[in-house]
Symmetry: C2
Subunit: 639 residues, 2 copies
């Protein structure tokens, strides 16, 4: 690692988003997603699966009150991943073991939203929720409603399967965000008390365990960055140091011995420093890798950073869909083996692409690598945006690249692939995760250090950075043009990423081009006009990926496009795009020349040149698919 | 139905196989499979999963002895699909609920083998097994070792999940075969006593249930054909009449009500006469359809026959692999929806293709339809033969059309797809089923009635039919030539199927060609030389099948060919065959002109014409794949 490359993202409160494309999304989150989620957490949505999240905090608060009063408190089993009236007493914990995290994600999204748009009513709702959350905290700082309600004596006893450290992580992230947005420190204090308990409980002289679902690592670093308390950073490093050591902590707890490598699902099969491939549950993976990057940077830990680099390369070179989706298999919602990227069986969870963006930003803060920033763009404009309906009221968890509604209905292997976005899930990870990412999108655009200011993503905004104030006017998604007004506070080097899809670019000011960035020496006020165009491209996927031979994907600027049955009729596999398809570009639509192969009536017949009819192929941005009811969709088209 | 079209297959004892290609297979079964299976049934194979099949009969025999002596007999639970030392008492039943059927399939294969090749030692081994089987029969005729050993009071209480009627079916088929081969009627008498119990137990005034795993229907018809006892035929019809009636029998037993159609897995979702699509567990399906065809013919039941026709058409037009494999999904080992025929996820069980041949023969006995006989050929020469290794010592249950060993190992969705044949399974359905089909292959070649004699399959043999004696010399698999010497017993019409893959054929004698058969009026002794050639063909799969666009399969005569890594290197998806590939034909090998696409190092790149290197593509018959260790295999090749 070269410390000169280090940079930090610019705090959200110094960024005001002005980009109409993104304002529309952040407004959807503010007006639709956050209020809807508030109702969902309170179980006020008719016909939706119950969340129980707020109810659990009420129950846990009551438990804490009774404990303080010395009243007797019952014990219930804490031995399942999900609890409802069929397997739990009415007074016991209900919902998924990680249900608390939905409340924290909501609070985090609210915090970012308050930074963008002051809303006293929303703020007071959030404060009431925080009061409720804090009422459920045990005297020693512990807070996970499953164990508070069900069994105080079993806390931290099953780190592999249960989610106390995961819920802590989301609590800490929400606490920092809420304090940052409002100056209110009640939740932050509570999170620090929980963090202090963790620091005391885990360590060389304590439990030598680590989270089964990672996030605590990066959350502890965030808490350290915010509070300066070194013990939080040390705890993050401890979790990474202990992970995957043999004999496995999880085996020791279970009293067994794993002969072969195991715990791939939890990325605990070997020590993080020795990992070089993205494996296991994809969301867990990218959350761990984010924490690893954080720790690598703060400890100047080359070995750990190189592991992160290898993992990031493995994802970008062999395990990522063209849409920035990751996690190719539903089994364990996991990374599959290299080049196994089936279109129709994809898991490609929205949360995993969000986590990939977390990981990528941290890698960029260690070293600006244009391909990594490209990956943020790829994930953001395609899989992440695809996660939410145009009206902000329904969501995809799974983001396939090919959908046949009949298959989703009849083929158990594709039951996870939904042809339309779903209202809300009992396991509501993706919508609130989307909400917190979109409301904090500014955090992913810029990084700086004392000499350099980088623009990685092109979103219209006003930025107060250390080196300069920026006014960025962007029509990037429409025509690839960005105008950047720079008011420098001192001499510095300004760097603008050149998107990898762009072969022809133009800057109004002379620049030095190096490794995917254009560098400008800034002394005075200036305006840099950037023009990347939005050439429509046909993208080939490596022929190592078996699903995509003799097919292409169409992209325009940051967007991957797809074909839908609503525009092109049934049996999208019969479409063939021309080699020179004369693309006609409209808003949210591209028309291309192509053909439709005549249907072969006979299942098996002598081969002859297929009969083709000319056909116009209509493509729409992938992120807009599934907004017109159930229909076939495909990203890849035959050529 | 037109009764003039009816015909019957020629009994096995009137057919002597002389074809070197098939003699090799029947000899493998005789010398390898039957002795190996005998050891397996007796649990004498080191390291193999235990069968427990003979052991169960020993235990059941002991139970029967004690019952006769009035001794006390314990009761064990009969509530699982599989029993071993982990979940069952040592004295209780072990193995799968259908384990008895393996013994019967072995006896059936032995019977056919004895017809072909007298073997006193084998015959006396079989008689000893029959003695053991009969010792386990209850006084009332009941014989299923699970219930005999574990609980006599619960017989016929769970028809949906347990396999008493299935085991009865295999017992009856074995009994008829053994009597036919040896004249020994001990097993036949036992089967009739069990059949009599079934006739008494089920019916309008008894249990109105039907088998969860079908076969009893066709077995009862076989028993009727052999004994002339009308009640057996009526019982077969009863099972078909009751199946799928609402309210569902299975619901009544379970005390619940299925709101939507259910029991597709068991083909009991609706009445057989109303079925028009092949659904559910594929082996169950084709066994039921075989019984339906039997009953349709014997009762002249047009409605039932038309259901069979629709189902057969559905299979042939929309649900069958080019290899004659059926059952596209591992989930329920079942038919998937129309045109869902993935190559790499295929289940395509050997037993299902065997059952398809049973069904097809019965349909041909109602009406000779060349496509149906083609389907027998397709299944027989590809999926069925593929099931057994060249040395007869290992077996495929699942017959995929594309294999990547890494995927079978790492991808849980493909764990059923084995890259090499397996030694023996605890659930040993396929090897003994293969053994009984191959040893009785003559039954599938000819049908006749008083005016007509049909040749559906071309296997060198001597045949004593009602209309004529035939001497058939065949080099069909080598060069598509067959010479048929006919010694007529009277005037009749002789019909020879013209294989659907054959565009140019020649007969040495004038014929009338109609609907895929060549018809010859026979008065005198004559020799008909048939020449179908063995043109190598490129076959296109309908573009309704998404997996096969822009790909072809190569066939030669009855054989589908495939490419293997052993001949063509890794990454078979990079091969492209030329449009005019100048096929060079060798024994068990075809060389074709083609190309290898250069590997794309980058996962996503701008599309340009792929770089191709000339390459010779070497193909081998599909049935021979996987005989050279683990490697990639693919039937379809890019064009």
């Amino acid at each position: 690692m070269n410390r000169e490359n280090f940079s930090n993202h610019i705090p959200l409160k110094n960024i005001e988003i002005t980009d109409p494309f993104w304002l529309e999304k952040t407004e959807l989150v503010r007006k639709e997603v956050i209020p809807y989620q508030y109702k969902a957490l309170h179980d006020r949505i008719p016909d939706a699966e119950r969340s129980y999240a707020i109810e659990n905090f009420v129950k846990a608060g009551e438990t804490v009150r009774r404990l303080k009063n010395g009243e007797e408190v019952p014990v219930y089993p804490a031995d399942k991943w999900h609890y409802d009236d069929n397997n739990a007493a009415p007074e016991a914990f209900h919902g998924w073991v990680f249900q608390d995290s939905d409340v924290y994600k909501w609070l985090e999204a609210v915090s970012y939203s308050l930074l963008n748009y002051s809303d006293k009513e929303l703020e007071s709702k959030a404060k009431a929720v925080i009061d409720l959350v804090c009422s459920a905290q045990l005297d020693n700082g512990y807070l996970d409603t499953l164990y508070v309600i069900n069994n105080r004596d079993e806390i931290f006893s099953n780190l592999k399967d249960f989610h106390e450290l995961y819920c802590f992580g989301h609590m800490a992230e929400a606490a920092v965000a809420f304090y940052d947005a409002t100056g209110e420190r009640k939740l932050l204090d509570a999170a620090c008390r929980f963090a202090d308990l963790i620091c005391k409980t885990f360590g060389e002289n304590g439990i030598k365990g680590y989270p089964g679902h990672e996030i605590a690592e990066m959350a502890l670093v965030k808490l350290y960055n915010f509070t300066g308390e070194r013990r939080y950073l040390d705890a993050a490093k401890f979790f990474i140091d202990e992970r995957g050591k043999k004999p496995y902590y999880y085996d020791i707890v279970l009293g067994k011995e794993t002969v072969n490598d195991n715990y791939h699902y939890n990325q605990a099969h070997c020590e993080p420093r020795k990992q070089n491939e993205a494996v296991g549950h994809a969301v867990r993976g990218v959350y761990l890798y984010s924490g690893m990057a954080d720790v690598a940077k703060l400890f100047n830990d080359d070995e750990l950073y190189h592991a992160c680099e290898k993992i990031m390369d493995n994802i970008m070179n062999k395990k990522m869909y063209v849409t920035g989706g990751i996690g190719a298999t539903v089994d364990g919602e996991a990374f599959s083996f290299d080049y196994d990227l089936p279109n129709d069986l994809a898991y490609s969870e929205t949360c995993a692409s969000i986590g990939l963006i977390f990981f990528a930003r941290r890698m960029l803060e260690i070293k600006p690598v244009a391909r990594v920033a490209d990956t943020v763009e790829r994930a953001l404009y395609n899989t992440v945006l695809s996660g939410m309906a145009q009206d902000g009221k329904s969501f995809f968890y799974v983001n396939p690249l090919e959908v046949l509604p009949e298959a989703s209905q009849k083929d158990s292997r594709k039951r996870h692939v939904k042809p339309v976005r779903q209202k809300w899930f009992g396991c509501a990870c993706c919508p609130p995760n989307l909400a917190r990412l979109i409301s904090s999108i500014g955090e992913y655009c810029y990084t700086e250090n004392e000499n350099m200011l980088y623009v990685h993503q092109f979103i219209g905004s006003r930025v107060k950075a250390e080196n300069a104030d920026l006014v960025i006017k962007s029509s990037y998604v429409q025509n690839g043009k960005i105008s950047i007004e720079i008011n420098p506070k001192k001499r510095f080097t300004f760097a603008v990423r050149i998107p990898s899809w762009c072969n022809k670019f133009n800057f109004s000011v002379p620049s030095e081009i190096k490794d995917g960035y254009a560098y400008f020496e800034i002394c005075d006020e200036c305006i840099i006009d950037c023009d990347f165009g939005t050439e429509v491209k046909m993208i080939k996927c490596s022929n190592r990926v078996r699903a995509n031979t003799d097919k292409i994907a169409v992209t325009r600027g940051p967007f991957v496009y797809c074909v839908e049955e609503a525009d092109n009729g049934k049996n999208l596999q019969m479409l063939k795009i021309s080699k020179n398809p004369n693309f006609r570009i409209f808003e949210n639509e591209i028309i291309a020349d192509g053909f439709r192969e005549k249907e072969c009536e006979t299942l098996y017949s002598d081969w002859r040149e297929p009969e083709l009819e000319k056909a116009e192929i209509k493509l729409i941005p992938y992120y807009l698919w599934g907004n017109r009811g159930e229909n076939e969709m495909s990203v890849y088209i035959r050529i």
